[in-house]
Amino acid sequence: MKDDAIPALGRGVKFRFDEIRQNWVLLAPERLFVPDAPAVEILKLVDGSRCLGAIIDDLAARFQAPRDLIARDVTAMLADLAEKGAIRL
């Protein structure tokens, strides 16, 4: 996964806040994911225009964590969701 790749939600996938349960959900065709807190922070930055590098920079700055550590987590999370069809890379 290269830094200039632009991740986007998969076709028909929606990311929204569930007011009843007070958590974020990723709604996909006949599937539903409840991302954990770090994944929510990543998904909030997946807007189909921001590139992977910019997402990693943003998170590294905000959470004051080493960039390569953040890069590894972000890449693994997005690859996992891409395999499930929830993210397009």
Binding site: G12, I20, L27, P29, E30, L32, G85
Partner: protein, 368 residues
């Protein structure tokens, strides 16, 4: 008892009307006629109540849901309430105008069923001449509309050999997802079990084919796979557990924990005509009956998997053991597991390919 967690999904069976007559249909043997269906206003209320209760996804199903003229109105309400809407259709009634109306209303996803890839066999199984061309045209329309598409193939011993071609068709039609589901042997499927149940070798070959295709299409097309219970060692968590994730509304408005629950005797099925969805979900005896683990008998009661598979399917336990509270006989720990093995032997001995088709009155005639 504490308040149950809200349901994730609403299965809205809008109608039992359908031009197809698949012999494994998940509708009950007693089909509802058009005159008994809920009206638009009641369905709109149910959708509002579902959103308020915490439902996230609505599956518009049937019968053939596009047989309801008010479908776009229902989809629009789902979209307004941020309910993720899924249309489960045979595609044979879809045309450009209907699809455009659904897209405009905010539909999120379409699941389109095929009975086979070979036209003659597909139309024999579905009991409708001319269906295949209509389905292929529907797939092209859906693809052009930009909606995400899932192809659904229900497989059994009379079409399982075509599985590789089914998966290839999904790729060719631009599907994001394929659902390969072995027939589930409840209701109509149980009536036709001897003509449908695959052999162990056929099951294993289909499983291997799906696994290979998943690797081939990794990252491009998701393939979901559902196996039949008959060769299983452990049961499936039917509906994700009774009264845990799903609520099913029949065309007449009965609220059920699963679409086959009406086969269970001695239970009263609440109606959305009389009560709110929340009241039904939280308090109706039918939802409480097999919710959680308190109702379980051995071997479920002390089993370490009791909160993984929730004892399997209540309707299958009833159909094959005579008591819905028993462990699903799909489980090798069930004292009734032999019923599965007997059924396999009976199906293997039956070489007929004839079906009892899903028609009003057909099941009663078959039993007579």
């Amino acid at each position: 008892m504490s308040m149950p967690a809200p349901p994730m999904g609403l299965l809205a069976e809008l109608t039992h009307r359908c031009p197809l007559q698949c012999p494994y249909c998940s509708n009950p043997l007693e089909l509802e006629r058009a005159a008994g269906e809920l009206d638009t206003a009641t369905w709109l209320r149910v959708l509002d109540e579902a959103a308020d209760l915490g439902v996230l996804q609505v599956h518009f199903s049937g019968g053939e849901p596009t047989a309801r003229r008010d479908l776009p109105e229902l989809v629009r309400r789902a979209a307004q309430r941020q309910l993720y809407s899924n249309l489960i259709t045979s595609g044979v009634l879809l045309d450009e105008r209907i699809l455009a109306g659904l897209v405009e209303a905010g539909l999120d996803h379409v699941q389109l069923s095929f009975q086979d890839v070979e036209t003659a066999n597909a139309e024999r199984i579905g009991g409708m001449a001319g269906a295949q061309a209509k389905k292929l045209a529907a797939a092209a329309l859906i693809q052009r509309s930009g909606l995400p598409l899932t192809l659904n193939f229900v497989i059994h011993r009379q079409n399982v050999e075509n599985l590789p071609a089914m998966i290839a068709l999904g790729a060719e039609l631009g599907a994001q997802r394929i659902e390969v589901a072995h027939v589930q042997y409840y209701g109509w499927g149980l009536v036709n079990r001897d003509a449908l149940l695959p052999s162990r070798a056929q099951l294993d070959a289909s499983t291997a084919e799906v696994e290979a295709a998943r690797l081939r299409f990794k990252g491009r097309m998701v393939i979901d796979y559902v196996v039949p219970d008959y060769y299983a060692e452990r049961p499936k968590a039917c509906m994700g557990g009774w009264g845990r994730r799903f609520i099913n509304i029949t065309p007449a408005g009965k609220a059920l924990p699963c679409h086959a629950a009406e086969t269970l005797p001695g239970l009263v099925f609440p109606s959305v005509r009389d009560e709110s969805l929340a009241a039904i979900w939280q308090r109706a005896p039918i939802f409480e009956r097999y919710r959680g683990t308190d109702w379980m008998v051995e071997p479920c009661r002390s089993c370490e998997r009791r909160e993984i598979d929730w004892g399997g399917c209540r309707c299958q336990a009833l159909a094959l053991t005579g008591d819905a509270a028993n462990a699903d006989p799909a489980c090798a720990l069930s004292p009734h597991h032999g019923a599965m093995l007997t059924a396999i032997a009976e199906a293997a001995a039956d070489t007929s390919s004839g079906f009892v088709y899903r028609r009003i009155g057909a099941a009663a005639k078959a039993e007579a």
